[in-house]
Symmetry: C2
Subunit: 70 residues, 2 copies
Amino acid sequence: MTTTVYTVQGMTCGHCVSSVKEEIGEVAGVTGVDVDLATGRVTVSSDGPVGDAEIRAAVEAAGYEVADPA
Amino acid sequence: MTTTVYTVQGMTCGHCVSSVKEEIGEVAGVTGVDVDLATGRVTVSSDGPVGDAEIRAAVEAAGYEVADPA
């Protein structure tokens, strides 16, 4: 199993969390999505490697942005 | 037509607005709901008088609170 952590900006409530989880959950290979609203930390579990671009696109489809690593 | 204005606390995003609109829209007699996210101002239009208690209950069902008049 592969686990990748992203930071998502702009989520303000539980509805936002649900939207992000739903969109990322639809990416092929993704088996689990955990979101911490307070920090924006999104942990994506998958069967194997999943492209960053696909995760970013899913987050953007939900209406949010992945923060670039500092 | 009757128009009543409430202030709803706790809405943070467009999803919150949608939830409040949906719940209030299901109250019998309500014909329209307009929400301003920035101010929390919710304008309810109805065919006739609608009970405050029913609007408050709808807002609470959506997960928010009506602010008491100052």
